[in-house]
Symmetry: C2
Subunit: 337 residues, 2 copies
DNA sequence: ATAGGCTGTCGAAGCGCTTCGACACGAACT
DNA sequence: AGTTCGTGTCGAAGCGCTTCGACAGCCTAT
């Protein structure tokens, strides 16, 4: 293990000089800098992370708490995690992966031990039990998601309210009057993660303005659950011609069922999905969708965090504007007019 | 920030005594231990990670390198990552998330800086450029996957050869004679990640013994790619009645296409998927499948690693035995005999 | 010519912990 | 009684780095 001292000796300077070359916190003459850099190269020196953390009280690590359960939006979570790791690295930070399993204790442990300089929380519930801890510590944090009370917190999320509104507008413009929302699994609503409710609220209020009738049904993923849900929907509102699907794992079953029932997409019914673009283009029908900008969310979260760590950057809520991409699963209402 | 010294003072003992209470490396009288533990509680003490790492040259962190690309098996990757994080935590380790982006440099950086005590590599290629580094460092590591040369390495993986064989056996037993393998995207083969080839080899050699004819076609995910692939298959081998699908994102398109062509599953054609159970049961047909035991792989990898860190634990290759679960997508060949 | 200000470098202190050797004490032997 | 041993505790020496204050040397302004 090569140490700073060895590099210093090799370069014929003092240890502090090497340190300053590395950190750039004091000016160093060109000659010295080059000599030190060559020594670092030649000896294959890597600063020891523990020593650095101890001396500077900075670990250069960002903690990322991901949900333990894999029941929803796995690709989204994964994409966010990867975006976080990549962006963090670009800013000189590493990422510590924490699962939600430990709950609030993880927050205490990480802030208390100085393991990480800051944290990013995913899958935030409306009244998350980790929030009080975050507010009382002075360690910066960013939430991906939106709790009920955002005071004193920084949040990054898709504007799910606007997402819902966008879906309503698109379907209304195409002449649909009766639409059904295939929501997340009931467990998601019970957990009060918020984004599902926000989508629904946004959709409902815009739908009211536009004169749409909305039927909302939570739905577990999978074929069987979707079949049952769909049957109930057509039972209750036979005239339903528009679907908004928020549950990724219900999309493909829905398409299969519609096909099977002889309802053509988009001629007879239109379907909008709220999902990553990749899912939308890989489906059996190229889906009109509102994208979940997972990469963007991860990146923004890290950037906010880094800004805070650098001293600037205040608490704020960043809501990303949703974008609807028209593909082949939505079209004007047939038969009508 | 509460320090060891403060705890010691509060409990009326020396710092080293507190340290020994924490680590258990020397015997401590019951009375002293309790006094110290109470002080720790009362003061809310958390040992400083950096100081601990510096003094003990142990960071209690395991690095996990996940592939950057999200083009394949995302749910599997995620599940492995979560299993790793959970299991590691149970053994007192935290997990550092590295993306494949940095490549071999990440290995150098982590081992050089003492950031982590050990590493787990996913998405290992047959002739991975990180392997030489792993062999020459004395830091323990475990691969999830199987490179060409495993000497001096510890690997955990599903026995994909046996997986392929299992598929062949099941289809043969049901009377199928002409089978098609829908493989991973061409990029996966080009990258030489190995598992796809191993599945195919295992399947081919068992098929030969059983007198099956095998057609293998790599396939990008998605509906369009699957449609083209399927057309070519039936063009070349109209009598194909059995399918083995290794690409998750081709499963649902395949089912939709077969349905659309009026070929009933499992009456006319049988389909076996190689995928996590969750995917198999959520598909539009409950799929007969060979499970990818992602959780188990992550857990085993950590356990091997912890064993190595504790001194026991030698280099070895652990191949998990595949298990085929019969569901509703495979059945005896119709019409025949 | 001299005071003042930069620039580049160094030495030393200390971050909070682990761990080694020392040692005091009582118990269990001769 | 003295020796030996084991047990429980302490003090001190680092681990490898950052950072502060000091200062030598030079340049510029007076």
């Amino acid at each position: 293990m090569v140490t700073l001292a060895e590099v210093a000796q090799h370069a014929g300077v003092s240890a502090s000089t090497v340190s300053y070359v590395l950190s750039g916190k004091r000016s160093i003459s060109v000659g010295t800098r080059q000599r030190v850099e060559r020594s670092i190269q030649e000896l294959g020196y890597h600063p020891n992370a523990g020593a650095r953390a101890l001396a500077s009280s900075r670990s250069n690590i960002i903690a990322l708490m991901v949900p333990l359960r894999t029941d929803m939006y796995v690709p989204v979570m994964m994409e966010i995690a990867i975006a976080v790791a990549t962006t963090a690295r670009a800013h000189g930070y590493d990422v510590l992966l924490l699962t939600g399993e430990e709950g609030p204790d993880a927050v205490r442990r990480v802030t208390g031990s100085g393991l990480a300089d800051a944290m990013i929380l995913m899958d935030v519930e409306l009244d998350d039990e980790r929030l009080p801890l975050l507010r009382q510590t002075d360690q910066p944090s960013v939430l991906i998601g939106l709790p009920a009370d955002t005071s004193g917190l920084t949040c990054v999320d898709l504007d799910f309210g606007a997402t819902g509104a966008l879906c309503a507008e698109h379907l209304a413009a195409l002449g649909h009057r009766d639409i059904a929302v295939i929501g997340e699994a009931p467990a998601v609503y019970e957990r009060h993660t918020g984004f599902a409710e926000r989508t629904l609220d946004g959709l409902r209020s815009r739908a009211r303005e536009l004169g749409l009738r909305v039927l909302h049904r939570p739905c577990e993923g999978g074929y069987d659950a979707m079949a049952a849900t769909l049957a109930r929907i057509f039972d209750e509102r036979p005239g339903t011609t528009g679907f908004v699907v928020q549950n990724e794992s219900a999309v493909e079953p829905l398409l299969a069922l519609l096909r099977q029932q002889g309802r053509a997409v988009p001629e007879d019914v239109s379907v909008i999905a709220v999902c990553p673009d990749q899912v939308a283009v890989q489906a059996s029908v190229r889906l009109t969708s509102v994208a979940i900008p997972a990469h963007e969310m991860g990146r923004r979260a890290v950037e906010r965090l880094v800004a805070k760590l650098d001293g600037h950057g205040k608490d704020e809520v960043v809501l990303l504007t949703p974008e609807l991409t028209v593909r082949s699963s939505t079209g004007p209402v047939s038969g009508g007019s």
